[in-house]
Symmetry: C2
Subunit: 294 residues, 2 copies
DNA sequence: GATCGAGCATCAGCACACCTTACGGCTACC
DNA sequence: GGTAGCCGTAAGGTGTGCTGATGCTCGATC
């Protein structure tokens, strides 16, 4: 029988690319990982790794085995969830990965309510961009994550990840001035965009392209409060979701762009039956329901 | 992460009932199994086993975990199959569980053809009643098994087992004499039945009951050649499938009873991609296709 | 083009996990 | 009430898996 711990190392390697990174992720030395993978390779009877330069690459067989590993880890986590479900009460630590806006708006209420209902539960919040959530869930760095998709940017279905809808907000164009403006109207204005690789940036760029132009980037800022301050200072235009539209500085004007942003709460498929995961998801959905959202 | 080896012991226990039996199956001492299960229980954090008298019984949590284990073992075997598939050639040992009739008719040709096509393959045949095949597959005592169902006796779908149709034969009533007879006609004759728990016996009993009577058992014999000899000796009547109807002694008359027996080749779902399993199944189906069957 | 650093493999050593043997307690059955 | 079957615990030996040190190769840098 193949050892799932070794399989997991191979699976990690298929995503991270280097043995050193796998070692760091799992808290081992590179030596240990190297030895374990060598053992796995000997058991398999065929080369799984290919030494290429000073790095290492998976062979076809290695990639196939890494792919098959996902099912093993899923089944194992489901088995663990079944004992936790049998144990009943929601105890232990749950690690949540969420984006800043949610941390300020949704989470405070949710955390308070959870602490009240489940005193034994310890909650650990990690600020995490939605784009990094699937990888963080897979690597077991968080148990729950908030993901997003704009209806203009389709979300890739992540294998082994389950999610439930949380809320749906309108997206606004933030400008300075009195007149209502559309994305097409501000083609000559500089833009304030989020960092590369983020969904917010992708959505903004997509909207501009749909309006027939490429946005000129002046500032790169992730935090929406800062974004609004910059817009107020006349530094450019930006798009912001409804949730971020609190304490809008007076000179800033918000006009809906006809796009919605959906937020979902995600977890590893195998963890779905864990009581603490269920409790957290339930509370989060209840809190989102109560929120005033357009 | 839960250790799949420990999980497998729990899964075995859920079917075998005693720790001693699990130990014997896996080649351990009972002490080792007891210790491993105790460790699993400590990791789970809830009682999995309940000491009842001098035996042991699974708690609800234990049964749930044992059920979840099936998916783990399936995924693990699939992972192993993926490396064997990557290695390509059909080598190693394949253990086949088959009923005597098939061993005499189907297997000789199939084994010869396999030896010719895959010289590296070692084949191990175990005589096994179809009723025991699912358990033997699950316990990893065989890799391939021949199962049967009569259309009057529905086959229970076994979880984690895959099967493919092999052949379909007519079933005959064996009597001594010249006149064609039906099952209803021989209600006053003594019957020669197969051993308790076998499908053949169940099918015969079912046919009699459908004809409105309970068969009177005179002899209990599994081997069809012996059965036919006894019928020839005027010791009673019996039903035999087409495959067994070779070298029928002269005084014996065979009349179809309108029932068919289906034979299928089965293997663990996770082993489906193993090249040696595929090769064996393919050859077996080809041989069955060539066979003259009504 | 020489130097340095990153990444991986190998080796020795140590701690721990796992299995066996031996033993005792308990229960069901004769 | 004796006995055999079944399970759990204790002690001990063996192997596995980790760390730390060392050496190697390749790629980037000045």
């Amino acid at each position: 029988m193949l050892d799932p711990r070794r399989l997991r190392l191979l699976d990690d390697l298929s995503r991270l690319g280097t043995i050193a990174a796998v070692a760091q992720l799992r808290g081992y030395t590179a030596s240990a990982v190297s030895q374990q993978l060598a053992t796995l390779e000997r058991e398999a009877g065929i080369p799984l790794l290919e030494r290429t330069g000073r790095r290492v690459r998976l062979t076809d067989a290695g990639a196939a085995l890494a792919a098959a590993t996902d099912d093993v880890l899923l089944a194992l986590e489901q088995a663990e969830a079944s004992v936790l479900a049998a144990r009943g009460t929601a105890v232990g630590t749950v690690r949540i990965g969420a984006f800043p806006t949610a941390v300020r708006t949704l989470l405070p209420t949710a955390l308070a309510r959870l602490a009240e209902r489940h005193p034994g539960l310890r909650l650990h919040v990690v600020e995490l961009d939605p784009a990094d959530v699937p990888a963080a869930l897979r690597d077991d760095r968080v148990d729950i994550g908030l993901v997003q998709d704009y209806d203009v940017v389709p979300r890739a279905a992540a294998r082994g990840i389950q999610s439930a809808p949380l809320l749906e907000e309108a997206v606004h164009l933030a400008t300075r001035g009195r007149a209502a403006r559309t994305v097409a109207d501000v083609r000559d204005e500089p833009w304030i965009l989020a960092g590369p690789g983020t969904l917010c940036r992708a959505a903004a760029v997509h909207l501009c392209r749909a309006a027939g132009y490429e946005p000129v980037t002046r500032h790169v800022v992730d935090d929406f409060a800062t974004v609004l301050a910059l817009v107020a200072a006349g530094q450019g235009v930006a798009i912001v979701p409804q949730l971020a539209a609190v304490d809008v500085p007076p000179p800033v004007r918000l006009d809906p762009v006809g796009t919605t942003r959906r937020t979902r709460v995600a977890h590893r498929a195998g963890a779905g039956r864990r009581p603490e995961i269920r409790a957290f998801v339930d509370v989060l959905r209840a809190v989102a329901e109560e929120l005033p959202h357009a």
